[in-house]
Symmetry: C2
Subunit: 172 residues, 2 copies
């Protein structure tokens, strides 16, 4: 009777130990899985928030990070956005040339990216950059170099930074 009682106690004890161990291991695994997936969520947080349009593009407004002056607007696909994040140099998708466009690759007028912001709908980006030279292919500091007067005529309101012919060569 005593031997049987001890055996039953031993079996119950072993059973509980095994169940407890399984539970502990499961808990540890769960914690690790939750941690990993949360890390993955944080990692993917931004890229999953971006809503590319039907052409796989998102507009990016480019602003001088010190003065707040708006320099240009360009379009990004996922690849150019990932390249921008990696290099911290602004990279766009050229809709006219249908290729990746590292800003400044021809002119040398690169953009160092200090900050990226995303809007409420996730369908527009705002890049805060420091612009080397001028942002505009016409030679101005900003692409927005023309202001609309009250009579709807246009007036130049920006500084010419370079001669486009010197930078891109003469148009034939």
């Amino acid at each position: 009777m005593e031997v049987n009682g001890f055996r039953i106690f031993l079996l119950v004890y072993l059973g509980f130990s095994i169940i407890l161990s399984i539970f502990r291991v499961y808990k540890q695994i769960t914690i690790v899985v939750v941690f990993m997936s949360s890390q993955e969520d944080i990692q993917k947080g931004f890229l999953e928030t971006v809503r590319f349009d039907a052409n796989g593009l998102v507009p990016a407004i480019v602003q001088d990070h010190e003065t707040g002056k708006v320099l240009m607007m360009a379009w990004m696909n996922r690849e150019s956005l990932e390249m921008t994040l990696e290099k911290r140099k602004a990279c766009y998708w050229s809709r006219s040339r249908q290729k990746l466009w590292l800003k400044g690759e021809s002119s040398g007028n690169m953009q160092d990216v200090h900050d990226i912001l995303i809007d409420c709908d996730g369908d527009t980006l705002l890049l805060k950059v420091s612009q080397k030279g001028g942002a505009c292919h016409v030679g101005y500091h900003s692409c927005f170099y023309r202001r609309v007067n009250e009579d709807l005529s246009l007036e130049t309101c920006d500084t010419l930074m370079f001669n486009p012919e010197d930078v891109y060569g003469k148009k034939s």
Copy 2:
């Protein structure tokens, strides 16, 4: 002989006078026509420079005219642009609702337009405005209220200006 000479002189004089008068009137008409057409050109200068996309829309970046803070980006068709020019209150084309959208018509958060700039390609506008309340329908001052961290997580970086439920009502 003398009478004939006088007659010829008179005829020549009259001829010259008539030709001169015609020339003067023509010149006056030309000046008026050129002036009118130049006025028309100036009037149409801006609107003819805008390049609307295949959907008849152009993106408009909206910036605080004093601080330079970028508040939002919205789309304009020709009608909303003309309304903006007329009222000097920002008016857009709502792509989701497919109708004209006078900014602030529901929330009261109107945008007084101080300046309009156009980019080199004519396919993007920049509005410098004074924003009443917040620009964002979520309640923030700017739609760009989230900054991307280095680990690609998102961080709130703006001030909540109003409770959207108070402004737009509760979502059912």
